[in-house]
Amino acid sequence: AQDKPAPFDNPGDVKIALVRYLSTGDFFQAYLSGVERQAEALGVDLRVFDSRQDAALQADMVDQAIALGVDGIVVQHGLTESMTEAVQRAVDAGIKVVAFDVNVENDAVPQIEQSDQLLAQLALEQAIKDNGDSFTAGYVYVPGIAPLDRRDEKWREFKDKYPGINEVAQFGTLDNPIANSVANQASAVLRANPTINVMFAPYDEFAKGVKIAVDEAGLNNDIKIYSADVSSADIQAMREDASAWVATAATNPAVVGEVSVRALAMLLAGEEPGQSVIVPPTLITRDMLMDLDIQNMEQLSAKLPQFAHADVAVPAWMPLPER
């Protein structure tokens, strides 16, 4: 501890807050655990504010954190419009802020990104590799959700680039349980469009739903599913016999959580993490999972080092969580 810069020479006095927009689901749970682990490694006091998808509340929570006298804030998701002013107030109050997956239009705030474009690109490149550049595709998409919109940009780019990609159906829903609702839609789509051989479902809940429908229709050898994000449950689904879900591109949400806190710590220590901190995604294919006998996220981290740790925002003094 002696060689750490201020204020981390006395980390017990450092208070940071995580202000969340989304919290329910594996991704967010894993992200939180990464934040917690890194905060623990640093020895700082962490407070978690959950706005549960209430954008207005999230902005208020920033003010609350200001009132609580925190030294730094991690903003996790949210809407540009509602967060920009609140974050500006925090910056004005001398608080260091980093933002994950939300653009708060502030030069003093580094952006942590998992790069949705890159995620989509990795999955789609794999699809082209597996199926050639012309195939009949079904696409699962719900507009209005920022990360999905960014993945959608990539999908449209690919369609422009490869005219052989024929999108015959687009569907999607966020009705919970999402996998179940998407499965119902997908089964209708598969009956109406028996020629589909590729499904692009750039969100793991969508992919799971599509997989259920494909299995139920007995088409698992005829269709390949490409998606984004990963969890232990997804790994199991991909590992199933003759699973149609052949590839997904993902960053490790826990790693993103760790990086967020590290970037904030650098700011607090007076260092510059850079305006944009990108955590690179990893492509995970079914073959990899089978060959390396990966059963869950922990094994994935252990066997794919690029997934376990992102070498970003790691100055020499930074204590890393144990692994």
Binding site: T24, F171, P177
Partner: protein, 325 residues
């Protein structure tokens, strides 16, 4: 003529929609396709049958969605983390559903909390409760537990069978369960004295009590039927999805309430009834599947669902009541 419209108007509308979709998309009208429609609504329908039971005694159950979600988590937890077999898992879920139903019933009957309020409280309770054992994670084979070890168990094939097997290669087990449950509840409500007494309680609770009906027990039983149905829904959900997904079950709630309420309009019943509930669920299923096949974006589906619902109901109810006057 008007009587005919009241009795069969809704069924004719359903038929018209089916014909329309078949013309637009011939793949719609096949045995397989119909089986898929049934499958897509099986869970909603099962929950809706439970709501119907509470509607019959003049109550309401807002907790079904969260009971189903909790039951899905409980089944997954039992199998994946405790390594239980499918029988134990199913038994656990049913016990959970019955217990929640009993709890709701006691709140309504003995603590006299209004039904909407009591079941809303239970709903919030369960929404939180289901997430506590896993600290908000969903449950899957090989998952890492909070204590750092790895879960040993996995979904029992017998359990997955419930969600995935097809009898004679065509009829999914979940559809069979839905049909059997609908038949049982329909028969129970229409042809047993218990069912009659439940309708009597819903119509005039005091009169039924004065006629010697053990009203409290019946009401608690109705909530237990509801919880039981919801837990079956949760089991089928877990068996279909094959993991314990974190979910609020809110959409399940709304869809099943819609199905149960549409049921009022079927055959001019103008009261909760099991046959109507089943038809209501299938109606929504046909609409959604047909529109998905026609590539309609999801938001137009909500819109059309709402529009058809409103039109059908205006038609039925304004006719039914007009004929009364």
């Amino acid at each position: 003529m008007r009587n005919f419209a009241i009795r069969y108007g809704f069924l004719l509308l359903l038929l018209a929609i089916i014909v329309f979709f078949t013309i637009m998309e011939p793949a719609f009208m096949s045995l397989r396709s119909m089986v898929f429609v049934f499958q897509s609504v099986s869970i909603t329908a099962i929950l809706a049958l439970g709501v119907t039971a509470t509607l019959v005694v003049g109550g309401f159950d807002l907790s079904i969605g969260s009971v189903a979600a909790s039951s899905m988590m409980a089944a997954s937890y039992a199998m994946v983390i405790w390594g239980a077999g499918s029988v134990e898992a199913v038994a656990l879920c049913l016990a959970l559903g019955l217990a929640v139903g009993f709890f709701n019933g006691v709140l309504v009957v003995y603590a006299r909390v209004p039904d909407l309020l009591a079941t809303l409280g239970t709903m919030f309770l369960l929404l939180g409760l289901q997430l506590i054992p896993t600290a908000g994670r969903s449950i899957a084979k090989g998952m890492m537990l909070p204590d750092g070890s790895t879960a040993e168990g996995s979904f029992d094939p017998g359990f997955l069978f419930l969600g995935r097997h097809r009898l004679y290669d065509i009829l999914p087990v979940s559809v069979l369960i839905m049909l059997v449950l609908a038949l049982v509840i329909w028969f129970f409500l229409e042809f047993t004295r218990w069912g009659r007494v439940m309708y009597a309680i819903g119509s005039n609770e005091l009169a039924s009590r004065l006629a010697g009906a053990p009203v409290n027990r019946y009401k608690i039983a109705a909530y237990m039927i509801s919880g039981f149905c919801a837990s079956i829904g949760g089991i089928l959900l877990a068996a279909r999805v094959g993991r314990g997904d974190v979910s609020s079950g809110n959409n399940l709630l709304l869809d099943s309430v819609a199905a149960a309420l549409i049921g009022f309009a079927v055959l001019g019943a103008a009261k909760p009834n099991a046959f109507g509930t089943l038809v209501g669920a299938i109606f929504v299923g046909v609409l959604l599947q047909g529109m998905t096949m026609m590539n309609a974006p999801y938001y137009t589906q909500d819109f059309v669902k709402g529009a058809v619902l409103v039109i059908a109901l205006v038609f039925t109810f304004s006719l039914t009541k007009a004929a009364r006057n």
